[in-house]
């Protein structure tokens, strides 16, 4: 595990998480099954997964960076580019669509003054479309940090954005 020690990894994973992953990878028969766990931990710590995060995951699991990259780029909830502090995933699947998701999409873009795929200038919000979040009963809905909000109206969107802004400035 020499390559890991040579890297500065503090900004990617805290020391304890790193040592736990290294230990666990040494104990189990198929360490490769941990890829998503490691990538999610790096994302949770760093906000997104930079190239060094892919390289660190590969070093922990004894894989090539390419083997990690083809996983990292497959899943839409792994961010391989910088994102804002709050990533708003708006469901655009059919149940939310029947309950006004298009209106919510327009309202979010107008309020945040960004389009889907963009991040606000203050670095607080990224807006992304998502497939069904399993919130079909509370449509239309968004997911932020694995929390769900719905059924949404433009007014409730405003309240949510205000609450997140407050959390972001605290």
């Amino acid at each position: 595990m020499t390559p890991i020690e040579q890297q500065t990894t503090d900004h990617l994973l805290d020391e304890q998480a790193l040592s736990e992953f290294i230990q666990h990878a040494g104990e189990i028969e198929h360490p490769r099954e941990m890829i998503i766990d490691v990538l999610r931990a790096i994302q949770s710590h760093h906000g997104w997964v930079p190239d060094e995060g892919v390289e660190l995951t590969a070093a922990i699991l004894g894989l090539t960076p390419l083997e990690v990259e083809e996983i990292a780029t497959f899943y839409d909830k792994i961010y391989r580019r910088p994102v804002g502090r709050f990533v708003i995933h708006l469901c655009d699947s059919v149940c939310c669509w029947t309950r006004g998701a298009e209106e919510i999409a327009a309202h979010l873009q107008k309020t945040l003054n960004i389009e889907f795929g963009q991040t606000t200038a203050d670095g607080l919000f990224t807006l992304l479309p998502s497939c069904c979040l399993g919130c079909c009963g509370i449509a239309p809905a968004v997911m932020v940090k694995q929390q769900f909000y719905g059924p949404l109206t433009p007014e409730k969107v405003d309240e949510l954005i205000a609450a997140l802004r407050q959390e972001g400035s605290a």
Partner: protein, 425 residues
């Protein structure tokens, strides 16, 4: 209103999660205790076959038959994998079940593992279900503490370890062989079948993949017996109850446990409390985004596997998404196809390129720029894609397209002739 025995939801209190103490107080783990002492693995497999349980994840394959293909007696490591990827639009029942009562799945996993003689189990759970994953981790810790998981379970000599495996989005992970690739940490394209997972599955070993609700039914079948389970259904062909997730233009969009074979009208009117904003029912997806539409003429059709196949649709996951009279079915189908085209893993041409073309055709038609040639091309794609794709994703994607062409072709023609969507204000 149909009498509705609550089996899977018997412990459910909305907003609350039941853990070991309350689960055990209401009969939890009794099925496991009894079966592991008195039944052989083969007897459990035969019982599940006799109960006529069909898979609750969408395909509806008889669980007992699937288990019959499994080499339970073969020496060496074997795996049981629970599919909790649940990402088909309109389907949220497994999420509700695991918010309410995670131990039910744990007990089902242990009993199924014993029946199949698998030593290791995984519950593969979608990214959005982090709360449910936390519930499962806690339930696994409690069950291990109580001696229901681990070595020599309840003195039977049977060992079983169980893990929760997280994901990071993408609908294709619900396809069982893609799921196995995802679990192994390789790119989750589907695998060629055969060999089927029962022969070469996870890490190359015999593996069975079953849905959450399917496995959660096992303890109840073991406790109640095959005849009791079959009698829960309202139709002779059906068996058991089903978790119905209601959504779309209904007044009440919640998840209910109802008997298999309940008529669509009762689901819409009694449980959905009728159509939103006092409008008329026009159509619905009866079992998730990949099931062909039902219309007003189908309101009295019993919702079970056989009856729905007879009318050209599928029971699927019983996620019922209703559409009112003002809904453009071309637009609905376009929304669904956008989902499937975006979620295609890109492995095979009919899905990667075919769904993209179908999306473009529907965009042309919906925007009023479509011509009769586009309609013919759409019909052609139905033939080109259905039955030719590598896995079931594209096949499922074409379900709503088939439904659109069967029941709403005139609506497409109206778009072409009017040069606009007749439903746009």
């Amino acid at each position: 209103m149909s009498q509705t025995t609550q089996v899977l939801f018997k412990n459910r209190i909305p907003g609350k999660t039941v853990f070991l103490k309350e689960f055990s107080a209401n009969g939890g783990y009794q099925g496991l205790k009894a079966a592991i002492q008195t039944m052989t693995p083969l007897e459990i497999r035969e019982l599940v076959k006799a109960a006529a349980l069909r898979g609750r994840g969408g395909a509806g394959f008889p669980t007992g038959v699937k288990w019959g293909f499994f080499p339970a007696d073969k020496p060496g490591i074997k795996y049981l994998v629970c599919n909790c990827d649940e990402m088909e639009p309109g389907t949220y029942k497994d999420g509700v079940l695991l918010q309410a009562d995670p131990h039910q799945l744990i007990e089902g996993m242990i009993l199924s593992a014993f029946a199949l003689q698998t030593q290791v189990g995984y519950i593969f759970i979608r990214y959005a279900y982090e709360k449910q994953a936390e519930n499962l981790r806690r339930a696994i810790a409690e069950a291990t503490q109580a001696g229901y998981l681990g070595k020599n379970i309840l003195g039977s000599g049977f060992d079983f370890e169980l893990h929760v495996h997280g994901s990071a989005g993408r609908y294709i992970l619900g396809e069982e062989t893609a799921l196995l690739n995802g679990l192994e940490g390789i790119r989750p394209n589907p695998r060629l079948k055969p060999p089927f997972p029962a022969v070469r599955g996870l890490f190359g070993q015999p593996t069975t993949v079953n849905n959450v609700e399917t496995i959660a039914n096992i303890p109840h079948i073991v406790t109640g017996g095959a005849e009791w389970f079959k009698d829960l259904a309202l139709t002779p062909e059906g068996s058991g109850t089903k978790l119905f997730g209601l959504s779309g233009h209904l007044n009440r969009t919640e998840c209910f446990e109802l008997p298999v074979g309940i008529p669509l009208r009762e689901v819409v009117e009694t449980y959905g409390r009728g159509m939103w904003k006092n409008k008329q029912f026009k159509a619905c997806l009866p079992g998730g985004a990949s099931t062909p539409y039902l219309t007003r003429e189908h309101l009295d059709v019993p919702l079970d596997f056989t009856s729905l196949e007879k009318v050209g649709s599928r029971f699927g996951t019983a996620g019922v998404t209703a559409f009112d009279e003002d809904t453009c079915m071309v637009a609905v189908t376009l929304n669904l196809i956008r989902f499937f085209a975006r979620e295609s893993c890109g492995w095979c041409t009919p899905c990667r390129d075919g769904l993209t073309m179908v999306r473009w055709l529907l965009e042309m038609l919906e925007s009023g720029k479509g011509t009769p040639e586009h309609l013919e091309l759409l019909k052609g794609q139905l033939k080109n894609i259905s039955g030719t794709s590598f896995c079931a994703l594209a096949e499922g994607a074409m379900g709503p397209v088939a439904g659109l062409l069967t029941h709403f072709e005139q609506e497409i023609v109206d778009h072409i002739e009017g040069g606009r969507c007749p439903f746009s204000k």
